[in-house]
Assembly symmetry: none
Homo-oligomer: 187 residues x 4
């Protein structure tokens, strides 16, 4: 019985993952403007199957983008606990650059218009974690006392959106903006 359930779920979950993955790919490549049809096509399923997994395009975006934001939030939290917070901070921005270079998800989640309350919440959590990191750095005199997490994300993700739209593929260039944002925020 548990086998049967597992089998069903395995199939369903696998398909849901196919959809999620397809959405990840499509949104990463073409931006959130991409149609649900394209996601469905990429997943090799019908349009309605996508809607079965995610009631609304917004939900789908929230799932895909939210996961990426969560990932970044976790990184930020790790950085707070780091022995060398400044290095961790620089590394965090760098990982953002790597993420942005390979997919539009992170900066779509952190900088674009908020597509859902849940995503808004995740964004707030992300900023909160980043703010904690900044506070540690301020205490150590490593970043400007007046800088906010919001400003960091707006600067960083704003730049990333442009890079992506311009089709920049070179990771070094993406990283460069991580550097610049670090420079903008340092003491």
């Amino acid at each position: 019985m548990s086998t049967v359930i597992r089998t069903r779920r395995a199939d369903a979950v696998r398909n849901a993952q196919k959809v999620l993955e397809a959405a990840r790919e499509v949104f990463a490549e073409r931006g959130l403007e991409a149609g649900v049809d394209q996601v469905a096509a990429r997943a090799g399923v019908g349009k309605a199957t996508v809607y079965r997994c995610y009631a609304t395009k917004e939900d789908l975006i929230t799932a895909v983008v939210g996961a990426r934001v969560d990932w970044f939030t976790a990184l930020a939290r790790d950085a707070v606990a780091s022995a060398d917070p400044w290095a961790a901070y620089v590394s965090l921005l760098d990982q953002g650059a790597e993420s942005g270079c390979s997919s539009a998800l992170l900066h779509a989640g952190l900088a674009a218009a908020p597509s859902s309350a849940e995503l808004e919440h995740k964004r707030a959590l992300c900023r909160s974690a980043l703010q904690d990191l900044l506070d540690v750095l301020k205490a150590r005199g490593r970043v400007r006392a007046d800088i906010t997490a919001r400003e960091v994300t707006v600067l960083l993700c704003g730049a990333f959106r442009t890079l992506r739209e311009e089709g920049v593929q070179d990771l070094a260039e993406w990283r460069r903006y991580a550097d610049l944002v670090a420079a903008a925020t340092r003491v």
Copy 2:
């Protein structure tokens, strides 16, 4: 007869200006996503008249946004000749912030996906002027030796796009990002 032709041309020119101005207003207020209909309505002409002046929406955007970019380019050139280039540089970024706060045109032109070759060209000119300014500042040791005009515009306009999408109206906040970009680029 020549009078008629002249009249017609005069009319045409006047129409083109009306259209341009309307597009300026509409795109500034609602962003480049605004429909051609709205531009035509604002101009008080038919939609086809818009297409007579500008073969495609892209062309219209190029004209409107390009003019704004040109304006900024001119400011940059003036700054190069300034007695206090750093102050002029800071002021330039600030004027970008003021522009962005009141209309979407500048950052749409400098940071978004290049909508046409002509706009791309104008953008290049703008960067060139800004680069000249940066070079002057570098010679005086006021900005990082490795900074490029492109980086400045990407940082600045990237942030501006986000501010606009989030509906931020407070000019002080816009100016803040001008400050931050200056900070990112200083020595």
Copy 3:
């Protein structure tokens, strides 16, 4: 083995009843436009189970609505045998109003487009019973000689459908139309 079969049959019957009851509730509350999904959810079974019991949504509607029509038919038959047929007639219409006020089933069955031959048949039986009642009343000179059962149901249920769509909850208002239909048919 026969036990197993019996068990299965018992299960199947129980399931069919669960489905029927769920459909009754859902269609009564939300009207026949309610989706099969909602019925399945209410029944706590899968959608396919609904389709196992009733090959088509139409069949399900026929079953649910038909039962309600049968109920009304039985009332009508009782009324025929009543000592005071006119009072029984008025009471019958009134019970229709009560039914209609609390669920969409009766008037959906008697007045809407015929969804199946079986329902059509049940409707005919209902009319026949009502016609018998009317005939008794005609013999006693209490209703118009030219009135038909069909006319009574069309008037009554037509009004009920509108009341339901307008969201009228007040039972008194529903009863009012029972009165009016009685008035339309009296001598």
Copy 4:
């Protein structure tokens, strides 16, 4: 010039009329559930042309159905001024029957769920006119003192909706219900 304007408008107006007429036909035949596609197809135009004339399906329905309601309202007002108000009342209901027999518009407007505020308003005007007529009749002791215009329309249009759904074509049958409603409301 006025000729040019007239020509353009003539074409546009003709097309708008084609759309309106097509909507009238399609909604009359198939009910308001019919798709905008069908209206467009009937009119021989593209779907978007329909939307050019009427921003929303609701607007289209309001236009088509509202006109029919207005027509009936005018009839009711005429009846108020009639020398023989009772005859005029009976005739009014009868004309409703004729209208309903040939198209679903009148009873869709007067009895179904209100599709727009404007239609709601038209409906109110219609009831008001009918109420005036009923008041005259009450003063002459020709209808029940307790009857309301709303009740008359609910009874009449409720019956009509059913007749239409059952596909009844025979005008005599439709008229019969006008009679019955008159009977229900008489003193």
